[in-house]
């Protein structure tokens, strides 16, 4: 058994190691080392906890058993999961953090003596408040992440579910959380604790159902942030520095990612959270525009254009992930490079279903990361490029965002693909993207539409090169 002070020092060390783990992600070279620091921090935290309890009785064996069960499941998932399913995986993992926070809070509420928080029915006021916050945020994270997971997995429709009185209902429930917490603290009643948990579960569910599939990058980042705040709340209850530091890090990390994602769509955070985007616009715009002439081509035409180009910029989007076309795409690029054509990739901040989704998929397909560029880095290059190859992206290329103040996506930063000499647009049909608006690009003189499955089209082009 080690002293309380010594274990506090070790918790601090593991907190610092977690900071270094995030710091390592500033560049791919240092990132692997960063991950190692993270693992080291975790090992220290767990070991110190065992040592500080000093109880190596039969309970200890059960701890190891449960740890091992969870660990094996986690390791199995980590090795099996395809990279295209990363958003679902992360959403699922968030739900587990949330639920673990809830369970720890329940356990602390039922047996406060084990945590030095007082006695059942007489828990220290500060601890009870911290516990309630941790439990409530954890419960919201859990049910919200489950909904996000179901939407991403396609089990639940990705379209927003809205009903009348939704916002007042949510507001009412948020207020009731505060009220219940207040009475919980004054009466210490366990019934109120369960009510608090139920309301929190329900509100997480209600918060996420009105948010559409394409807003998932914001939702996932937001839930990431919540899972951090939940951990921090529990950290205060347990008076544990490692948990407080980590909770704060994760909380601010998720908040920053949500901000970046919202900026990528030029929408305010509240606009996304209140949801229902794209549910109305669709019918009005699609009927009158379908008559416009569209140039469509086949793989041969596309191959011809690219063969005669000297530089090509590839714009991947969620459609590429759905079609699992990243490997086929890289093969096509390899062939282009053999013909001395310069190829780079342009990634919009909100491409895909989570932050950095496209980068991971391209990395999986062995695309070197120094060929992949962010919007600001590459946007000026479109004017000098010969061909833009848009595969599975749509709204992020729509020039209407720059020209039409009436458009719902006006002001959103977009990739200037229309400045290229020619644009190849791989898409299954002319249907609008998630914003429900027509893409002006389809009807441009220099655009060639390639109607096909992204993977199949890419393979066909490679054959024709």
């Amino acid at each position: 058994m080690i002293s309380v002070n010594l274990s506090a020092v070790f918790y601090l060390i593991s907190g610092v190691l977690f900071i270094l783990a995030l710091r390592g992600l500033s560049s791919p070279e240092t990132s692997r080392q960063g991950n190692f620091f993270g693992i080291l921090g975790m090992v220290i935290a767990i070991t110190v906890t065992f040592l500080s309890i000093g109880n190596f009785s039969s309970g200890f064996v059960y701890v190891l058993i449960f740890l091992l069960i969870g660990g094996l499941i986690g390791a199995f998932i980590a090795y099996k999961i395809p990279m295209t399913a990363m958003p679902e995986l992360v959403a699922g993992f968030h739900s587990l953090v949330g639920l673990a926070a809830v369970f720890v809070a329940i356990s602390a509420f039922l047996n406060p003596e084990a945590f030095n928080l007082g006695y059942p029915g007489d828990i220290k006021l500060g601890s009870l408040i911290e516990m309630s916050i941790g439990a409530a945020v954890g419960a919201i994270t859990f049910s919200g992440s489950i909904i996000a997971f179901l939407k991403l997995q396609g089990i639940m429709s990705g379209s927003p579910i809205t009903f009348k009185g939704q916002h007042p209902l949510n507001a009412l429930m948020l207020i009731s959380i505060v009220v219940v917490t207040y009475f919980l603290c004054s009466t210490q009643s366990s019934n109120l604790f369960w009510i608090l948990l139920s309301i929190s579960f329900l509100i997480g569910f209600l918060l996420i159902i009105p948010i559409g599939g394409a807003d998932m990058p914001v939702v996932i980042s937001m839930l990431n942030s919540y899972s951090g705040w939940a951990a921090a709340g529990i950290g205060f209850t347990l008076e544990n520095t490692a948990l407080i530091i980590t909770g704060a890090l994760v909380g601010s990390s998720g908040a920053i990612l949500s901000y970046i994602m919202c900026k990528g769509m030029n929408r305010s955070f509240f606009n996304v959270i209140l949801g229902g985007f794209g549910a109305t616009e669709q019918s009005a715009s699609s009927s009158n525009k379908e008559q416009k002439p569209v140039k469509s081509g086949n793989a041969e035409d596309a191959a011809f254009l690219m063969k005669n180009a000297s530089s090509v910029i590839i714009v991947p989007g969620y459609g590429m992930a759905v079609a699992q076309a990243q490997h086929a795409l890289r093969e096509m690029v390899d062939t282009l490079k053999k013909n001395d054509i310069k190829v780079s990739y342009a990634i919009h901040p909100v491409a895909g279903r989570m932050p950095g989704h496209m980068n991971v998929l391209l990395a999986e397909a062995n695309v070197p990361y120094d060929e992949v560029f962010e919007l600001e880095e590459i946007n000026n290059d479109f004017a000098n490029a010969d061909v833009a190859f848009v595969i599975g992206a749509n709204d992020v290329t729509n020039p209407v965002a720059k020209t039409d103040p009436q458009s719902p996506i006006y002001g959103m930063p977009v990739l200037d693909v229309e400045k290229c000499k020619s644009v190849l647009f791989v898409k299954r049909s002319l249907s609008p993207g998630y914003a429900g608006i027509d893409n002006d690009l389809f009807y441009r003189e220099n655009t060639l539409m390639l109607f096909a499955d992204a993977k199949k089209m890419t393979e066909d082009i490679t054959k024709n090169l």
Partner: protein, 102 residues
């Protein structure tokens, strides 16, 4: 008069939020997905609380309502710890630089 220890913890918390803010802004956008999976893994340090809860049962009865929740939380957090770190490692191993000879 002594300062309440809560204030110290609050100070750690606030400063950590700021550290998180600056550290995360320096993360390159192409690594945002690994960032999410690694933050997921480290937030499972909540397992510390779960272990305390699981070991709280007395020697006659290891399993009571409170410790069962603790044991369950251990498993949940362990899924995240192992899954989170391993999947991050798997992703990071894929990020390669352009080979010079090509």
């Amino acid at each position: 008069m002594e300062i309440d220890p809560f204030i110290f913890r609050l100070s750690i918390f606030i400063l950590s939020v700021f550290i998180g803010y600056y550290v995360v802004w320096s993360v390159t956008p192409s690594l945002h997905t690994p960032l999410m999976s690694v933050t997921n893994a480290i937030s499972s340090v909540i397992i510390v609380g779960a272990i305390i809860a699981g070991l709280a049962g007395n020697s006659e009865s290891i399993f009571n309502t409170s410790s069962i929740f603790g044991f369950l939380a251990i498993s949940l957090a362990a899924v995240n710890i192992f899954g989170g770190f391993l999947v991050t490692q798997r992703m990071l191993a894929m990020y390669k630089k352009k080979k010079k000879d090509k």
